[in-house]
């Protein structure tokens, strides 16, 4: 597990073609069009040169209360070579799912990785950490999750929460949260934690974040919830390919109806796009275009957002805070609504009463003028 090799050297040694590496760099540029130093170039060659110079960072990956989906997303590629590319770009020194060792050997691997890369490794956490019953709901090698996390995070250079579970608690934390599941930043408070929420998130967001750190030594700009701004600054709605249908008021009302088949907006089916910050609308999954929920006609469930995911029912419509004008227009001369019968009735009654009162009063006035002067 040597770190003396730069990424470029390691790739060369592993026989990964330059073309594959450039393709990978191109994908990073799509994932982070703005806001990252390593992709702030106009060609993949420049990105490759920057990343190639960096030392392969040691990554220690901890699984807590997870479904392993975030690991799966990292391995989900359509090009078989890319999986090996991942392991040549980062040095994945401890990962319970993919490592060859198990049992005592695995524990030794973790210990060695921490010792040899003390203060330099990147800790990635997948899964929520249970806190009830003193963390008894998760134990690995006799230690509970909280202690394990604190121990490994102590000498980590950067801590990344991969997925919604480690970012804010995820599925295990939904009502009634029997295990007291919580995110990493509730436990690790003495260093910055980068949250990459999503269920699962786009793996390239994780890779771009790790590589930015490895290349520049700096963490990307984070928002108030600790999420990298280059990926989480916009809502799904802002970049949704179906936005024109929303603006024109074309909605799918039921799964399978004609609107749904036409690819119309899924807002009425409960799409949480307007209130969900995530990069999915422009960075799709599995490296296949349109391979993302809305792309295949399923409304977004807001899996990155703590207040939405697994809390607000999937088919409940989202509350839009800043509605913009739709595609239709008010007319210069709108048709006037007809006067209601009640209004006509009331007006008639009032008018009649006034006329009647006036008539009676005039009769009284006539009487006055014919009064004879008092003696």
């Amino acid at each position: 597990m040597t770190l003396n090799l730069t990424i470029a050297e390691r790739l060369r040694r592993s026989g990964v073609s330059r073309r594959h590496f450039l393709t990978f760099c191109g994908k990073l540029m799509v994932v982070a069009p703005a806001g990252l130093a390593i992709t702030n170039f106009i060609s993949p060659n420049a990105v490759a040169a920057t990343i190639g110079r960096a030392r392969r960072p040691s990554v220690i990956w901890l699984h807590m209360q997870d479904c392993t989906g975030c690991t799966e997303t990292l391995l989900r590629t359509s090009e078989p070579d890319l999986a090996s590319l991942l392991f040549d770009v980062i040095s994945l020194d401890y990962h319970e799912t993919v490592m060859a060792a198990s049992g005592h050997d695995a524990e030794a691997a973790l210990h060695d990785a921490m010792e040899q890369n003390k203060g330099k490794y990147v800790l990635v956490v997948e899964g929520s950490i249970p806190t009830k019953e003193n963390g008894a709901y998760l134990k690995i090698a006799g230690r509970n999750g909280i202690d394990m996390l604190k121990d490994v995070a102590a000498n980590a250079a950067a801590v990344i929460s991969m997925g919604s579970c480690s970012s804010w608690g995820g599925v295990p934390s939904s009502n009634i949260n029997p295990t007291g599941a919580t995110g990493v930043d509730s436990i690790i408070k003495d260093k910055p934690v980068i949250n990459i929420p999503g269920c699962p998130p786009n793996p390239y967001v994780l890779l771009a974040t790790i590589l930015e750190y490895a290349s520049t030594g700096k963490v990307p700009k984070l928002d108030a919830l600790g999420r990298p701004k280059f990926a989480y600054d916009k809502t799904i709605h802002e970049h949704c390919p179906r936005r024109a249908h929303f603006d024109a008021g074309q909605f799918a009302a039921q799964f399978g109806d004609s609107g749904h088949r036409e690819g119309w907006c899924l807002y009425k089916l409960g799409c949480k796009g307007p209130v969900t910050h995530a990069p999915c609308s422009t960075r799709h999954f599995n490296e296949v275009v349109d391979c993302w929920p809305i792309g295949i006609g399923a409304p977004c469930v807001g899996c990155t957002e703590k207040d939405i995911a697994f809390t607000v029912p999937i088919f409940t419509t989202a509350d839009i805070k800043r509605p913009f004008p739709p595609d239709n227009y008010p007319l210069v001369n709108p048709e006037h609504k007809p006067v209601s019968p009640i209004a006509t009735g009331v007006a008639g009654l009032v008018g009649g009463a006034l006329l009647g009162a006036g008539f009676l009063a005039s009769r009284k006035m006539g009487d006055d003028s014919t009064d004879a002067p008092k003696e």
Binding site: G249, Y267, I320, R322, P323, F324, P325, P326, N328, Y329, P330, L331, V332, N333, P334, P373
Partner: protein, 291 residues
């Protein structure tokens, strides 16, 4: 009361004499012109694409709430016209193939009807010729809303402490040297901001350079005493909602009469003097008759 012919003619002559004290009213009020620092906007319907960026920018700059009661399924900000939530709007005129967008907001008239009608001076023509509103002087009588020929000032019916809502040409931004939000954001420069005289020249230049493209008039140059927001259109101005074509401003006749009648307060004093004299002359007459 009974009176004889002589007495009647005496009183009639006295009244006529009183009236001649009033100065001639017809030309008493000078026609107003644009102030020297006047700024304005020029809107060209041939360039507007109806994107409504100006509507959005106005709402955001002025922190106005969305109006979801309109035609927008309850989802969108979709005002039907200017209202208490909307200071600027894009409307559509469509008749078969003939179509035009129309941007509506305060016209910042040179001789505004609302300023003339406002009893307490809440609406004033201020810096840069912007018709500005001071809520601290407003009593909510809505004369301004009634009298405006462009139907611009809108009363906040839905509020317990209502005010009048209308475009004020982003006067706070003007004070910082910026242009209004709507003109700043327009992607095709269909509505532009500038000095009133420059905009008038630009409008005439466009009319001259493309004679067949526009109706040969700059709306607002003379209409209703002139407005600081000028319009160029490819179809009749009546169709896009400008019903009034006369040159005389709304306050002109009204203020000519009222300023004339009340000039120096001579008229009221004379009239009440006459009435007082009559009452004085008739005091004690009824009691005399009865005894």
């Amino acid at each position: 009361m009974r009176t004889d012919r002589r007495a009647f003619f005496k009183s009639f002559a006295a009244a006529a004499a009183t009236l001649t004290v009033l100065p001639t009213t017809a030309e008493a009020r000078a026609k107003k012109t644009a102030p020297s620092d006047a700024v304005g906007m020029l809107y060209d319907t041939t360039m507007c694409i109806g994107c409504k960026a100006c509507v959005v920018a106005c709402k955001e700059t002025n922190d106005m709430p969305a109006d979801t009661d309109g035609y927008g399924h309850g989802l969108y900000d979709s005002p039907d016209s200017l209202n208490q939530y909307t200071k600027n709007i894009i409307q559509l005129y469509k008749d078969g193939d003939e179509q035009s967008y129309a941007k509506k907001q305060c016209m910042h008239c040179i001789d505004p009807a609302c300023v003339g009608a406002c009893m307490l001076g809440a609406l004033q023509k201020g810096k840069f010729g912007v018709v500005s509103y001071d809520v601290s002087k407003c009593v909510g009588c809505r004369y301004c809303e009634t009298v405006c020929p462009f139907n611009v000032p809108k009363f906040e019916w839905a509020k317990a402490a209502p005010k009048i809502v209308k475009c004020e040409l982003c006067k706070d931004r003007l004070a910082e040297g910026k242009e209004p939000a709507c003109t700043a954001v327009c992607p095709r420069k269909a509505v532009i901001f500038g000095k009133y005289t420059d905009l008038l020249d630009e409008a005439h230049r466009r009319l001259q350079n493309s004679p067949g493209k526009y109706v040969n008039k700059v709306y607002g140059e003379k209409e209703l005493g002139g407005t600081q927001v000028l319009y160029l259109s490819h179809i009749d101005f009546e169709k896009i909602g400008f019903r009034f074509q006369q040159d005389e401003s709304v306050p002109h006749l009204q203020q000519s009469v009222t300023h004339g009648v009340y000039k120096g307060f001579i008229g009221p004093v004379a009239l009440y003097g006459l009435l007082g004299a009559v009452m004085f002359r008739n005091r004690g007459k009824n009691s005399d008759k009865e005894s």
